[in-house]
Every structure is written in structure tokens, then in C-alpha cells.
Amino acid sequence: MSGIINFTRMKGCIIVRLEVPGVIQYRDIMLRTLSATCKLIAPGARARSSRASLFAAHLVSAVGEAYNNIALHGYAGREPGMIRMEIEQGSDWIRVVLADTGASFDPAGARLPDLDALPESGLGVFIMRSFVDEVAYVPGPPNVLTLFKRLDEPREASPNSRRKGPAQRV
């Protein structure tokens, strides 16, 4: 097994590619890479540090939950494959694509949790969907999950928010 980080620049966008074994122990490498990439977004936004920090917090949370689903459920009961992450960073947006060869799970099929009941589980997909602007999933193999988030005007994270962005199907 090996991990590879690849950095390229294309059409004004920064693209970071990373591939790690699909086990939970490697999640931190993915999230720290993503967190560092978030710091590159919109230099002007750095002056609005609270918004930029919230952007990073939301995106790291969403990708972390997606990673958990792959490592803990997608590869459960089988020899884990790799998880490939591609981060595309634009002027004020980031697209994250996660690819894996585990069991497919479309996040659109997950039920909304009853937050008033203080659930102790089943929150991962809700967190993921709430903290990004767009989610796209193509079952595989490989399964490809695309998360898109734009740094925009402050608003409360909501599972009903569906601003369209350039999410793509790979």
C-alpha cells in the first residue's frame, strides 16, 4: 500500500490528488490535506477569517463523514481498497471527489435524523449533506462521490440548501 499526493494547476484552478488505503487510520491525512487546501481559497477571504474558518470547518466535516462511510461501511467485511481524493480549488469554491471500490451507498437514500430525539448514530450523511452546496453520487465500481462548496454570503447550514454549483459527475 502507498499514499501519493499530487499537485497540479489547470485553468486557474489548483488540483490536489491524494490516494490512501481505505481504512480509518488514514483519514487524518486526507482531512489535513483538505484543510490546508481550504486555506488557499480566495485571498480576500482571508481577511474575513471567520467565514473562511467556517467554510473549512464545514467542508472538513462533510468530507470526514464521507470518508468514514467508505472506510467503515463501504469496505466493511472485505479487504479494503484505496480511497482516492481529488480536491479542485477555484477562486471561491472547492470541489472534492472521493472514489472507492467498496460497497455502493447513495447518500440520497439516507433518512433525515430526528434531531429532537438526540440520536447517537446515523448522523454522518446528514452532516455531509448539510455542510456542502451540492452532492452527486455515481455508484461504481468505482463509486464516485462529489461534494461542492462555495464560499459565499454567511448563512446557516441547512439540509435544504441546494444552491447549484459546478459539481461534476466523473
Binding site: I24, Q25, R27, D28, L31, S53, L54, A57, H58, V60, S61, G64, E65, N68, A71, L72, L115, D116, L118, P119, E120, S121, L123, G124, I127, S130, F131, E156, A157
Partner: protein, 99 residues
């Protein structure tokens, strides 16, 4: 993830540092059960040094909250900020867990 507990005057303080997530939560579950079994009147969870929490970590804290509430105790969290605060607000835990 590092954690420590201290108890005085029927108040137990649990301090969690670093990251409480799917990888680290197994390290703390036994200690959370021990806290609940002691039935302190009040439990304070100091999260001022918690950098990241995921749904697994939330589940552990909520589980402790329910266990404490079940015997009539109270649990509050303090120092929640950054990514953990964003998670708490999304899940509306700030209304029940933050003093």
C-alpha cells in the same frame, strides 16, 4: 485524542483534547461509562481544546448526556468552538449541551 477526568464536590469534569472521531472514540467509551456509573450530580465536559469532532464523537457525548440525565444528573459542555461548535449548532446540540 487525550482526555482526563477530575472529580470534586459531586462534580466530574471531563476534558477532551484533540480529535474525537471514529478512530479515537473507542479509547474513551469505557471512561464515559465509568463516569455515568459514578452518578455525579453534575458532569462538565471541557471541549476548549477539542479541535475536531465527527458523528461518532457526537454519539459518544450524547450517549453520556442521556446516561447522566437518566439518573437525574446534568451534563454541560464548555469551551466549544471552531469545527465542533459548527457540528453542535447543526445538530442543535448547542441548545441542550452548552451552558
Amino acid at each position: 485524542m487525550l482526555f482526563s477526568t477530575s472529580a470534586a464536590n459531586d462534580v466530574t469534569v471531563l476534558r477532551i483534547e484533540g480529535e474525537l472521531d471514529a478512530l479515537s472514540v473507542t479509547d474513551i467509551r469505557a471512561s464515559l461509562n465509568t463516569i455515568a456509573e459514578g452518578k455525579p450530580a453534575r458532569v462538565e465536559v471541557d471541549l476548549s481544546a477539542l479541535r475536531l469532532i465527527d458523528s461518532s464523537g457526537v454519539g459518544a457525548i450524547v450517549s453520556l448526556f442521556k446516561a447522566v440525565r437518566a439518573y437525574g444528573g446534568s451534563l454541560t459542555t464548555t469551551g466549544v468552538r471552531g469545527q465542533p461548535l459548527a457540528i453542535f449548532r447543526l445538530l442543535r446540540l448547542d441548545r441542550v449541551l452548552i451552558a
